[in-house]
C-alpha cells in the first residue's frame, strides 16, 4: 500500500531536523545537561536563517546566523543555570517560552506580520548532487539530491560519536555527566565542559532550525518547530546514550512522521499516527528502565 522506496526522500527530509537536534540533545545530555530548551533554540535558528539570508541574499550567511542564534540561546541557558543558578528544567521551559514570544515579536517588528515571513525574500540551502552515485539507477535518486544539511546531519553522527567516545573533551563530558563531584575532584573543569557541550548543542539546534526554514520549507512561520524539539529529546532517550542510536531513533520517528504525511488526504485519521512519535519513546524508556532495574537487582 505504501511505496516505501518512494518514501525514502520524504523520510530523510522529515528526519533531518530530528537527527540534527537529536545529536544536539545527545551532546549536552552526555555532559549531564538535559537540554529541554532545544525547541526554542531551533525556533531562533529558523528565524535567524530566514532574516539574515533575506538581508544579505546569501544562504550560507543565513546558515551561519542560524548556528549563532542557537549558540547564543545556549549561552543564555548557561548563564541562567550556571551564573544565576536557576533550575535547569525550568530555565529550559522558560527558554522555549521566550523563543516563541521573542521570534514572534521580531517577526512582527520586521514584517508587520505575526504569522509568517513570506514577505521577506529569504533563500534556501542548496540540494547536493553526489557525483557518480547520482548516475546509479534506483539508488542514485534515493541517495543523491538531498539538502546539504541532510548530508551534514548524517556526517555529523560519526563525528559526534568520535567526539564523545574518543576525545579528551568527550571523556570529560561523560565524566561530568556521570558524576560532576567526582569529575571535579579529579580536576575536570566541570563548568567549562558543560558550557562547551551546551554551545555545541545550540549549534546543532541552530542547524536543525535552519533546515526547517531554509530547506524543508522556504519561510519562517510562528512556532514552526511544532514540538520537533521534544521528538529530538525522545530520539536521544531512545538512543540509549549513543550517537548512532540517536540517529536510528530519529530515522525511526521520522519514518512514522513521513508515513503520516503520505497518508494525509486518504481519509485515514492521521492524528493517531501523529501520536506515535511521542508514545514510542515512552515505551523505550520503560524497557530501558526495567532492564537497568533488573541489572541492579542482580
Amino acid at each position: 500500500m505504501i511505496d516505501l522506496l518512494g518514501l525514502v526522500p520524504a523520510i530523510l527530509r522529515v528526519s533531518t531536523p530530528l537527527i540534527l537536534a537529536g545529536l544536539g540533545v545527545h551532546v549536552s545530555s552526555r555532559a549531564g545537561v538535559l537540554n529541554i530548551g532545544i525547541e526554542g533554540m531551533m525556533l531562533a535558528g529558523a528565524l535567524a536563517g530566514v532574516v539574515i539570508s533575506a538581508l544579505t541574499q546569501n544562504a550560507w550567511l543565513g546558515l551561519v546566523a542560524a548556528l549563532l542564534a542557537g549558540a547564543v540561546l545556549a549561552a543564555l541557558l548557561s548563564v541562567a543555570i550556571h551564573l544565576l543558578r536557576a533550575d535547569l528544567v525550568l530555565s529550559g521551559i522558560a527558554l522555549n517560552m521566550a523563543a516563541l514570544a521573542g521570534t514572534t515579536l521580531a517577526l512582527f517588528a520586521l514584517t508587520g506580520d505575526k504569522g509568517i515571513s513570506s514577505s521577506l525574500p529569504s533563500l534556501t540551502l542548496p540540494m547536493v548532487r553526489l557525483p557518480l552515485i547520482d548516475d546509479i539507477p534506483i539508488l542514485g535518486p534515493l541517495l543523491s539530491g538531498h539538502n546539504v544539511l541532510t548530508y551534514a546531519g548524517l556526517l555529523a553522527v560519526p563525528l559526534v560519536a568520535i567526539l564523545v567516545n574518543r576525545t579528551p573533551l568527550g571523556l570529560a563530558m561523560r565524566a561530568v555527566g556521570e558524576n560532576p563531584e567526582a569529575a571535579a575532584a579529579t580536576g575536570v573543569p566541570v563548568l567549562r565542559v558543560q558550557v562547551t557541550a551546551l554551545l555545541i548543542s545550540g549549534l546543532f539546534a541552530g542547524a536543525a532550525g535552519a533546515f526547517l526554514s531554509m530547506g524543508y520549507v522556504s519561510w519562517f512561520s510562528q512556532n514552526m518547530t511544532a514540538g520537533r524539539g521534544f521528538i529530538a529529546l525522545a530520539a536521544d532517550v531512545m538512543g540509549f546514550g549513543y550517537a548512532w542510536g540517536t540517529m536510528a531513533a530519529a530515522l525511526l520517528l521520522g519514518t512514522t512522521e513521513a508515513i503520516t504525511l503520505s497518508l494525509q488526504g486518504f481519509g485515514v485519521p492521521s492524528e493517531l499516527l501523529q501520536a506515535i512519535p511521542y508514545l514510542v519513546p515512552v515505551l523505550a524508556m520503560v524497557i530501558h528502565a526495567r532492564r537497568r532495574k533488573r541489572r541492579e537487582a542482580h
Binding site: A86, T104, L105, G227, L233, P269, E271, Y278, M285
Partner: protein, 351 residues
C-alpha cells in the same frame, strides 16, 4: 524568621518589578507614545468591570494548574504533564457532557468528574512509570503531553466533531452542563469559586494533614524520608495523581465555564502558565491565588497594549519566561547581600 520571610517576599517582588520593566520599557520606547503604552499596560486592566472580569477569567485556569504544579513540585516530582492533563481534562469533560444521559443538575458534576479522571492520566502514567520502573517522569510527561494532544484531536475528529460547523469543533455543549455566570457584564463563572476553594484546601492538605507533611518531607529530602521509613515512591505518585486530577478538573471547568464547543487545536499553554504561577507562589497553594491574579493582570495588560499599539501580546510571554528564570535563580533569591538589602537579618537563614 518572619522578618527574613518578608525580606524574601520583598526581594521576589523587586525581581518581578524589574523583569516587567525590562520588557515593557524598551518595547514602549518603539512607539510614539511610550507613556501611553506603560499606563495602558499597568492601569488599563482596572479601567472597566469587563477587563477586571478578564483578569479573573484568566486567573481561574491558572489557579488550578498552578496548584497542581505546586503540589507535584512539593513532593519532589518534576512532572510536566499538567499541560496535557488540562487539555485532555477539557476534552474529556466535553465528551462526557455530550454522551452521558443525565438530568440537568447532574450533568456538569458528572462530566467534570469524568474529565478529571481521563485528563489526569497524562500525569498519572509518568507517575506510575517513575514509581514502578524508575523511569524519568520529566521526560515521559513531556512526551505524553503531545501524545494526549493528538489522541484528543483524534477523539474530537472522529466522535465529537459537529459536521454542521465549519471548523474542527465539537457539538455544542448542552446548556444544562454550562457553569452559571456570577457577575453581570463579565464572563466570570462559578469556576473561580471552585478554584479559590481548591487552593484553600490544597494549603490545608499540604500544611495540616499527615499526607501533606509526608509529601513535604519526601520532596525536601527524599533520602531522609526513606530513612524515616516513608514510601517515597508512593508519596510521589500520590502527588502526581492529585496534581493530574486538579489540572484536568481545571480544563473541564474552563470548557464548561467559557466555551460553547470544544475548539482547541493545539495545547492551550495553561499548564506552562501554571508552572510560572507555582514558581511565583514558591509552591505555596495559598500564594497561587495572588500569583495567578498577577499573571492574569499582565495578560490583560498585554492584550490591551496589543489592541491599541503596535506591540504584540507575546511581550507577556517574554515576561513570563524571564520571571521563571529569575525567581528560581538561587544567585538572586538566595543572595545574602540582596536579602540583607531587603531587611533580612542573618544571611542564608531565611526559609
Amino acid at each position: 524568621m518572619i522578618r527574613n520571610a518578608l525580606a524574601e517576599t520583598a526581594l521576589t517582588l523587586a525581581i518581578v518589578f524589574v523583569v516587567v520593566a525590562l520588557v515593557l520599557v524598551p518595547l514602549a520606547m518603539t512607539q510614539a507614545d511610550p507613556v501611553g503604552v506603560v499606563t495602558t499596560f499597568l492601569f488599563g486592566p482596572f479601567k472597566s468591570i469587563r477587563h477586571i472580569g478578564n483578569i479573573i477569567e484568566l486567573a481561574t485556569p491558572s489557579m488550578f494548574c498552578g496548584l497542581a504544579v505546586a503540589l507535584i513540585l512539593r513532593a519532589g516530582m518534576f512532572n510536566l504533564g499538567v499541560e496535557g492533563a488540562f487539555f485532555l481534562g477539557g476534552l474529556g469533560t466535553v465528551a462526557a457532557a455530550l454522551i452521558l444521559p443525565l438530568p440537568g443538575p447532574w450533568l456538569a458534576p458528572a462530566a467534570l468528574l469524568a474529565g478529571a479522571v481521563i485528563g489526569s492520566s497524562v500525569c498519572v502514567v509518568p507517575g506510575v512509570l517513575r514509581a514502578r520502573y524508575g523511569a524519568s517522569e520529566l521526560v515521559s510527561s513531556l512526551m505524553l503531553n503531545f501524545a494526549a494532544l493528538f489522541i484528543g484531536l483524534y477523539v474530537l475528529n472522529v466522535w465529537l466533531r459537529d459536521p454542521a460547523a465549519g471548523a474542527m469543533v465539537s457539538f455544542k455543549i448542552p446548556a444544562d452542563a454550562r457553569l452559571p455566570r456570577l457577575i453581570e457584564g463579565t464572563r466570570i463563572h462559578i469556576g473561580v469559586l471552585l478554584a479559590l476553594a481548591a487552593c484553600g484546601l490544597g494549603a490545608l492538605y499540604l500544611f495540616r494533614t499527615a499526607g501533606g507533611f509526608e509529601s513535604r518531607i519526601a520532596g525536601a529530602n527524599p533520602s531522609f524520608a526513606a530513612h524515616l521509613g516513608l514510601d517515597v515512591a508512593r508519596i510521589g505518585l500520590r502527588a502526581q495523581i492529585l496534581g493530574g486530577l486538579i489540572a484536568a478538573f481545571g480544563g473541564g471547568i474552563e470548557m464548561l465555564g467559557l466555551y460553547q464547543r470544544f475548539s482547541w487545536q493545539a495545547l492551550p499553554g495553561n499548564g506552562w502558565t501554571g508552572v510560572t504561577v507555582a514558581i511565583l507562589a514558591r509552591d505555596h497553594p495559598a500564594l497561587v491565588i495572588p500569583a495567578a491574579l498577577f499573571l492574569g493582570w499582565l495578560q490583560v495588560g498585554g492584550d490591551l497594549v496589543a489592541r491599541n499599539f503596535d506591540i504584540p501580546n507575546e511581550a507577556v510571554g517574554l515576561m513570563q519566561a524571564l520571571l521563571l528564570v529569575t525567581v528560581t535563580a538561587a544567585a538572586l533569591t538566595r543572595n545574602p547581600r540582596l536579602l540583607r538589602a531587603f531587611g533580612a537579618r542573618s544571611p542564608g537563614a531565611a526559609r
